[in-house]
Assembly symmetry: C2
Homo-oligomer: 447 residues x 2
């Protein structure tokens, strides 16, 4: 595991401009550790150690950086270094970098590439953002299905230098029509004379290049694949999605879902390097919408102002009730959003899910009502406590149903279920929960 | 991608007891698709198609199931089938299954194993739960560093049938002392006469078997490794953590963090198959703690009851203020918990994080105060609106600081930061936020 105190030392060396010290530090750390430290600094600092890396490691460290930091580093490089770096990158990483960069950097980058690399990059950029096409590697060793195992191994040996991966080898028929894959392990195990046809896995899952990359990554996890073949709309092989990109995609998708669940947009790049304004901007939109939606709670409170004036004790329990309803609703929403993300729940499960969550909410409501009854009786007497307890039961059941159905309805109308954030559910449950509370109070207290 | 309507069909076939139909369905689906459908049924149903699988596929499907469903299926099997299945499983999957199973199943399982497999399983079960030792595979092809590349390839060919993976090959010195790894791709590329020493990567990261499995999986993601070598406390090689386990670990860890963020415990197994009681139990503990903690809000409201009676308009904004404070606090907490999980923030960043979040909270507070001012002025007049707006600024700043510091403090005292859930932060901010609000009100309104 990485040493937690590395970073302080590197920053000190940079501040003291101790070039020998920085070189020694770089030599004793792995590329991913160096990248991790650079991502924690602002770019004016990070460029100093980056320029001191030797050629080979420069590329390795650069490929470990996320696109935001890659852009910042690129801006700080001279033309020759800039173009060398881009020329050497893996085509999928390069396409992603260029696809996300401002137009100025993108143009400068594309202009400097060799014709072959430019063509490959342009092809990947032709796929929609977030699709498998942007993440797959086209640099593979393709085998024709009519080869023998021995001949296939020779092809792998001869061409492996250009390929990003040789563990999963695509096998094609004439016209690049995808047939299946063969594992390098199986080639090594089989006799040289075996026809390749006999060891090809023709049932291996495959995806179309335009499909969402996240779905493809989750498929790899489910099917335990080290690389997933990608085909075009005519079933021609176009590339492989490799496990490292799948790991990154899953981690990024989860980060995004987690941020969305709290009503924030995901912030690209390291938290530590993100500016205050960027962090605030990622959270502002939902907060604005939610405070406007919270006007509903003010309206409900106003509508029942007379009730509140008659029995001021009712006001005491408002934060507790809205809080509890919000908590139950958030739990249901979070559980369903996650179950949708990992494929455990589908839209057609809606009635089943709603029924189940209603019972979960009722059960939780009964339990919490008992507690509310005790607290309420101690503080304001049993009558008001009874109103509060009855409200807790109704609000919890209602919150669980709302919280679970909203993500499913969002998915049905084609909206990312993760936008049904915990705060959104809580705000809706606040207003409706108050309605429930005041109506129960009026009914019981005859006011 | 899996066909969304498969499941309905399989369930119908089971209900009609159409064995031929089930066999046909099974033959036309991949093991991971079959496992996915079985996980959505209760075990009495799932056992029917499972028994109809032929030997080879039975194992493949079984290994795709999560431990909860594996146990349920095992209980439904006759002794011979039960023991065959366990004997054939990968040792790491088997150790995890036995480690999590009730004592009765575990004993029956261990008793039926062959001595060799039992020894391997016992060794894995010797590592703590959740550690790398439980997830690594001990079945690898180990190469001695004094071999040549050609000789090494022969060893791989001869022994590959017993190994779970041959893409990353551990290289050891005498006494199994771990030296580094060599990629099968590099062996295939190199000349047969090259000494193995020349192609070994001795800088490859390694972990100790007792370390947490999640950290190891995140390290693989950072360092782009298809397999991570695992050593014991004396630096002897003991196994490899493979990418498929890493993918599963990351997805499971994220599911756990997401559940915790909403104040729920993670529920093992498929959502659809989980019972109402199990779902309720996973969510009950925190809800109970939180409703008790919410008594604080009742106390604060009671302490300021006189103020509320004098200016009833103040009560109208209570849900809006507690809601907004909760939202801002949850966003900060969620962002920091995630940054800690993926290694972007460390405990020593506390002062930096607190300062940054204070400014983010202030910025958001100013923006939301403007909205609150407009809403408040329209509904109750500028004086009260001013009190509300000032409170929004103070509460947002306070919420962001509390939300961001609590996960870091939890980590410092050795508690999982994910227990600092959004509802916990919201509840704390509710009570303290009300204190802020009523004190500003008293100050401004001179009451």
């Amino acid at each position: 595991m990485a040493d937690e105190d590395n970073g302080e030392e590197l920053i000190r060396l940079i501040e003291e401009n101790d070039l020998t010290g920085i070189r020694l530090w770089l030599a004793s750390h792995a590329p991913y550790e160096i990248a991790d430290e650079l991502e924690r600094m602002d770019s004016s600092r990070a460029i100093v150690p980056f320029r001191l890396l030797d050629k080979d490691r420069e590329l390795e460290v650069f490929e470990e950086l996320d696109p935001v930091h890659q852009q910042e580093i690129l801006v700080g490089l001279r033309d020759a270094a800039f173009h060398d770096l881009l020329e050497e990158m893996d085509p999928d990483d390069r396409a992603r970098l260029i696809g996300e960069a401002p137009a100025k950097i993108a143009t400068r980058a594309l202009a400097g590439l060799s014709p072959a690399e430019r063509k490959m990059t342009a092809a990947l950029l032709g796929y929609p953002e977030g699709s498998v096409g942007r993440y797959m590697t086209p640099e593979t060793v393709i085998l024709h299905r009519d080869l023998s195992v021995g001949r296939a191994l020779e092809v792998v040996r001869a061409k492996s230098a250009e390929a990003e991966t040789v563990y999963t080898l695509p096998v094609v028929a004439d016209g690049r029509r995808f047939d299946g894959t063969v594992q390098l392990a199986d080639l090594v195990r089989a006799d040289d004379d075996t026809p390749l046809k006999d060891v090809v896995d023709v049932l291996v899952p495959r995806v179309q290049a335009a499909e969402p990359a996240e779905d493809a990554a989750r498929l790899m996890q489910e099917a335990n694949l080290v690389a997933l073949p990608v085909v075009d709309s005519e079933e021609r092989f176009v590339g492989l999605l490799t496990f490292d990109d799948a790991l990154e995609l899953i981690e990024a998708a989860d980060s995004e879902d987690i941020a969305r669940q709290s009503g924030a947009s995901p912030v690209a790049g390291h938290y530590v390097a993100a500016s205050v304004v960027r962090l605030a901007r990622a959270r502002a939109t939902w907060l604005l919408l939610l405070i406007v939606a919270a006007t509903l709670t003010v309206n409900v409170m106003q509508a029942y102002e007379a009730t509140l004036e008659q029995v001021t004790a009712l006001a005491l329990f408002v934060p507790m009730l809205t809080g509890t309803g919000g908590n139950v609703g958030s739990q249901s929403a979070t559980a369903i959003v996650r179950a949708l993300a990992v494929g455990e729940v589908r839209v057609r499960d809606l009635p089943r899910v709603a029924g189940k969550e209603a019972r979960v909410g009722l059960l939780l409501g009964l339990m919490l009502a008992a507690v509310a009854m005790v607290i309420g009786s101690a503080l304001v007497g049993t009558l008001i406590a009874g109103v509060v307890a009855a409200s807790v039961i109704a609000i919890c059941t209602w919150a669980a149903v709302i919280g679970s159905c909203m993500p499913l309805l969002a998915r049905r109308v084609g909206v990312d279920p993760a936008v049904v954030s915990a705060p959104l559910v809580a705000t809706l449950v606040d207003a409706t929960g108050l309605l429930i509370y005041f109506n129960i109070a009026r009914l019981v207290l005859h006011i």
